[in-house]
C-alpha cells in the first residue's frame, strides 16, 4: 500500500470513529494521568459501563496538558458535544455514567469544558477557559487528541504530510524552508535550526547522522516526556524531514531511561512506521533511506550536552569535549551530525506541513513560533503549556496558571532549570523570548518554569540548584568541578548561619570565573542561579549573613520553634511526639522547648491542634517564654 492509500484508509477509519453510534470516552493515560490515578478511573469506567450495559469505546490518549485537573476524561456521546471532566475520583465515574450517559444530564457541575462544536447549558468551551485561551498548539497539536499508539490517528490528522511535501522538494529547499520559518533550537540555546542543518548539509562526508535529544534532564521539566508519550510521530516525522534535508540515512533518539512509557511508545511508533513504509530503504517510494535507533540514557545530566551525548551513544563515559569541531562537522563517530531537541523536531513536521510563513506569523521578530513550558511549583494550575513567543510572564502565571495558591505572594519565576536564573516578581511583564530572558540573566532553557512564592528561601533554592549541578559535574574541567563545589560550600555556610561579610562578592567572583572558564554548557550556565539570586535578592543573602535571619523560615539553622505560654493548654500532644524529647511539660502545664535539643523538624508545629495554635516558628526574633514549664493560666 502506498502512502496515499494508507492516508485514505486512515481518514475513513477516523471518520467512522467520529460518527460511531457508540459513546467514546478518551482517558488521559500519560505518566501524569497515571500518577494521578487514571488506572483506577479506567477500571471503574469498564466496570460501570458493563454494569449499565452501555456500548462505549474507551480510547487511552496522551496528555492535553491540564495536569492540575488529572485524572481527566473526555466523553463523546453520539450527537452531543464532547465534554471534559477533570479532577475525577473513582466515586464520580458511576455518577457521570448514570446521569449523563443514561439520563442525559451532562452534569455541568463536574464538567471542565466542551471541545469542538456544540453547546451545553452551563458548560463553557474548553479553549475559552483562561488556562487554554492564550495558548497556541503547534508542537502539542495532537496531544490528548489521538491515540499515540495508532499511527493511523496521526496520519488522519495530517501526519506525514510534511514529510510527503519535503520529499517532493530538493534537500536545500527543505533547509531554506526551515531558515524562513525562523525556528530556533528548543533545547534552550536557541541556535537557528536552519543554519545548523546547513552546516551539516555542507560538511563533506557520505555518512551523516541526525539525533533527537530526548535526555530531558532539567529537574522541573517534563515537556518532552509528555510530547513523546502523547504524539511520538510528530517528533519522528520531524527527524525524517531533517535527515532528508541534511542527507543523513541514520538517526538516533537518545532518551532517558527514566521515561519508560515514552520509550515504549517510540518503539511502537517506529514499528508502525516500518509497516507503513515510512521508515526503511525506500520511504514513500522516493528512494530516501532512513533508519532510527533508540539509545537509552543512563541517568547523567551532562549527557544532554551534545558532545557528551554523542560520547554516550558511542558507549563511553558521557563527558563533553571542547568545540570546535562542532558536531555539524565532526559528530557521532567523527561524522557530520545534527542534534536537535524533541520539541524542535515536532515543530519541524508542523512547519513543513503548513509552511514557514504560517509558522513565522507567531512570536516576535527574533523568536518565532511557540514554546512549550512545564509550569509547576507554587501555582494553582500546573501543566504543560504551549504559548506564542513574546507572551508575558504575567499572562503565563496569572491567566494560564491561575496565580499563586493560598493567597501567597509571587516571589520569582525560575526558567531554564539549573542552567537558568530567577526572574523577580517586579519583572513580571517581561516578554518570554530568547533575548529578553537572557537580558534578565536567565535563559529560555528547554522549558522548565517553576513558580516560587514567599515561602521559598532564595538562598536555599540556589543551594538546591548548585547541589544538583555540583553532583552532575562530570569532573573533566577544573572550573566546573571545583567552582561549583566552592560555590555550594559558601551557600551552605550562608544557609547554616556561618556566612561572613564578603561571601556575596566571593560568590560573584567565583560565578563569573566558572561561567567563563568551563568547558561545556553545564559549567558555563551553572552560576546563573547564583548570579540572578544575588542580582535580584541580595537583601535576602545579606539577611542570612548579617542578621542570621531567614525570612522565608526555611533554613533550619536560622529558625527556632517556641511554645507560646498564653496559648498552650498543656495537652501534651507535641511533647509525646517530639522525636528527640526536646519538649518539657506535663498535663495543664505550659510546655517549653529545649532549644539545644531541638532538631527543628517541625513535627510539634504540624501536630499542635489548630484551636490552640500555640507553636511559633520564627527566625532572628526571640520569643519570650518561661524557662521551665509553668501551670496553664485559667481563663476567667
Amino acid at each position: 500500500m502506498n502512502f496515499e492509500e494508507i492516508k485514505k484508509q486512515a481518514i475513513v477509519q477516523w471518520k467512522a470513529m467520529q460518527q460511531s453510534k457508540n459513546t467514546r470516552i478518551l482517558i488521559g493515560m500519560g505518566t501524569c494521568g497515571r500518577a494521578a490515578g487514571a488506572d483506577d478511573i479506567l477500571d471503574v469506567l469498564n466496570r460501570e459501563l458493563a454494569q449499565q450495559h452501555i456500548q462505549a469505546d474507551i480510547l487511552p490518549v496522551g496528555c492535553i496538558g491540564l495536569c492540575y485537573a488529572e485524572p481527566l476524561i473526555e466523553v463523546i456521546k453520539p450527537g452531543m458535544p464532547s465534554v471534559f471532566y477533570g479532577n475525577l475520583t473513582p466515586e464520580l465515574i458511576p455518577e457521570i455514567i448514570k446521569d449523563y450517559l443514561v439520563n442525559g444530564n451532562p452534569r455541568s457541575d463536574l464538567a471542565l469544558g466542551i471541545r469542538g462544536e456544540g453547546m451545553l447549558e452551563g458548560i463553557t468551551n474548553l479553549f475559552d477557559l483562561p488556562v487554554l485561551k492564550p495558548q497556541v498548539r503547534i508542537s502539542l497539536r495532537n496531544c490528548g487528541n489521538i491515540d499515540p499508539e495508532n499511527i493511523k490517528h496521526y496520519i488522519a490528522n495530517g501526519g506525514y504530510e510534511g514529510l510527503a511535501k519535503a520529499l517532493r522538494m530538493e534537500p536545500q529547499e527543505v533547509i531554506d524552508e526551515m531558515k524562513k520559518s525562523g525556528l530556533r533550537g528548543r533545547g534552550g540555546a536557541g541556535f537557528p535550526t536552519g543554519a545548523k542543518w546547513q552546516f551539516c548539509h555542507d560538511a563533506p562526508g557520505d555518512i551523516k547522522y541526525v539525533i533527537c535529544n530526548a535526555d530531558e534532564g532539567d529537574p522541573g521539566a517534563f515537556m518532552d516526556r509528555a510530547l513523546l508519550e502523547s504524539d511520538p510521530h510528530a517528533v519522528l516525522e520531524g527527524m525524517l524531514i531533517g535527515a532528508y534535508g541534511i542527507g543523513a540515512s541514520e538517526g538516533y533518539i537518545y532518551i532517558r531511561a527514566e521515561y519508560p512509557l515514552a520509550i515504549q511508545r517510540l518503539r511502537t511508533a517506529i514499528r508502525q512506521m516500518e509497516e507503513c513504509g515510512l521508515i526503511g530503504d525506500d520511504i514513500m517510494g522516493s528512494g530516501f533511506r532512513f533508519h532510527i535507533k533508540i539509545k537509552e540514557g543512563a541517568g547523567v545530566f551532562v549527557c544532554g550536552e551534545e558532545t557528551a551525548l554523542m560520547a554516550s551513544i558511542e558507549g563511553s563515559r558521557g563527558m563533553p569535549r571542547s568545540r570546535p569541531p562542532f558536531p555539524a562537522q565532526s559528530g557521532l563517530w567523527g561524522k557530520p551530525t545534527s542534534i536537535n531537541n524533541v520539541e524542535t523536531w515536532s515543530n519541524v513536521s508542523a512547519i513543513l506541513a503548513k509552511g514557514a510563513e504560517w509558522y513565522a506569523g507567531y512570536g516576535t521578530e527574533k523568536s518565532k513560533g511557540t514554546k512549550n513550558f512545564s509550569l509547576a511549583g507554587k501555582i494553582v494550575r500546573t501543566g504543560l503549556i504551549e504559548v506564542p513567543m513574546g507572551i508575558t510572564l504575567r499572562e503565563i502565571v496569572y491567566d494560564i496558571g491561575g496565580g499563586i495558591p493560598e493567597g501567597k505572594r509571587l516571589k520569582a519565576v525560575q526558567t531554564g532549570g539549573p542552567s537558568g536564573g530567577f526572574i523577580p516578581e517586579r519583572l513580571i511583564d517581561l516578554p518570554v523570548d530568547y533575548e529578553s530572558l537572557a537580558q534578565a540573566g536567565s535563559i529560555m532553557g528547554s522549558g522548565g518554569m517553576i513558580v516560587i512564592d514567599e515561602d521559598t528561601c532564595m538562598v536555599d533554592i540556589t543551594k538546591f540548584f548548585l547541589t544538583f549541578t555540583q553532583s552532575e559535574s562530570c569532573g573533566k574541567c577544573i572550573p566546573c568541578r571545583w567552582g561549583t563545589k566552592q560555590m555550594l560550600d559558601i551557600l551552605e555556610d550562608i544557609a547554616n548561619g556561618r556566612g561572613r561579610p564578603g561571601d556575596i562578592e566571593l560568590l560573584q567572583e567565583l560565578a563569573e570565573s566558572v561561567k567563563d572558564g568551563s568547558l561545556c554548557g553545564l559549567g558555563q550556565t551553572a552560576p546563573n542561579p547564583v548570579l540572578t539570586g544575588i542580582r535580584y535578592f541580595r537583601d535576602e543573602y545579606e539577611e542570612h549573613i548579617v542578621e542570621k535571619r531567614c525570612a522565608a523560615l526555611h533554613c533550619k539553622a536560622l529558625i527556632s520553634y517556641y511554645i507560646l505560654p498564653d496559648k498552650c493548654e498543656g495537652c501534651m500532644i507535641c511533647a509525646r511526639n517530639c522525636p528527640v524529647q526536646a519538649i518539657e511539660g506535663g498535663k495543664r502545664m505550659v510546655h517549653v522547648i529545649d532549644q539545644d535539643k531541638c532538631t527543628k523538624c517541625g513535627i510539634c508545629l504540624s501536630l499542635c491542634p489548630p484551636k490552640f495554635n500555640a507553636i511559633a516558628k520564627v527566625s532572628g526574633e526571640p520569643v519570650g517564654v518561661p524557662e521551665k514549664p509553668v501551670p496553664v493560666t485559667v481563663e476567667v
Binding site: E296, A298, K378
Partner: protein, 170 residues
C-alpha cells in the same frame, strides 16, 4: 557520581542464581555483536536481570567487547543508573526535582529515611528496601512525587509515607 569504593565483597555472581547466572549472562551477550557502542545497552540489560552489575559479569563483558576492564568499570561507575551492589526487593525513589523541592520533598525524603532507617543511596540489611533519589521524574505537576517499584505516587505528604511503604512490603 557513583562512589567506586562501594564495590567490596562482590566477587561472584549472585549466590541464589549460581549455575544459571552464567547461562543468563551468555544469553544476554548472544544477542549482541560485540561492538563497543553496545556496552551501555549490555550493562543496562545485565542490571535489569541481576538487579546490579556483578563484578564477574563486568569482566566477562569486557572480554566480550574486547575492551579493557577499566573501561567497563569506568562506564559502570560514571552513569548514575548503574549499581555495583545488589538493590533491595522494593525500590523507593524520592524525586528531588525543583517542583518537588519547593513543594517539600526534603521532608518526604527525611520521613522515608526515618521509616526505613537508611539514607538515600542505601539498602536495608535484609535487602527488603533500597532508597534512591532521582533528579527529576518529570511528573512535576503532581509534585512532590515518590516512585515505589515503578508506581508513581503524586501529591505526596510526609504523613502518607508510612502507609505507602506498608503497601509496598507485600
Amino acid at each position: 557520581m557513583t562512589n567506586p569504593s562501594v564495590v567490596q565483597g562482590v566477587q561472584a555472581l549472585p549466590q541464589e542464581q549460581e549455575g544459571t547466572s552464567e547461562e543468563r549472562l551468555n544469553e544476554i551477550l548472544s544477542s549482541y555483536e560485540g561492538r563497543g557502542d553496545e556496552l551501555i545497552p549490555i550493562l543496562q540489560q545485565v542490571q535489569q536481570v541481576f538487579g546490579y552489575l556483578p563484578e564477574p559479569a563486568m569482566k566477562k563483558i569486557a572480554k566480550f567487547l574486547k575492551l579493557p576492564e577499566s573501561t567497563v568499570f569506568g562506564v559502570g561507575t560514571f552513569y548514575a543508573q548503574f549499581k555495583l551492589v545488589p538493590t533491595g526487593r522494593n525500590v523507593i525513589k524520592v524525586c528531588r526535582g525543583t517542583a518537588c523541592h519547593v513543594r517539600g520533598s526534603e521532608q518526604i525524603l527525611g520521613e522515608v529515611e526515618k521509616q526505613l532507617g537508611i539514607s538515600a543511596g542505601e539498602t536495608t540489611p535484609d535487602l527488603e528496601y533500597s532508597l534512591e533519589t532521582i533528579a527529576c521524574f518529570g511528573s512535576c505537576a503532581l509534585a512532590p512525587v515518590v516512585v515505589t517499584n515503578g508506581k508513581v505516587h503524586g501529591r505526596m505528604a510526609a504523613p502518607k509515607v508510612r502507609k505507602m511503604l506498608k503497601k509496598e512490603a507485600h
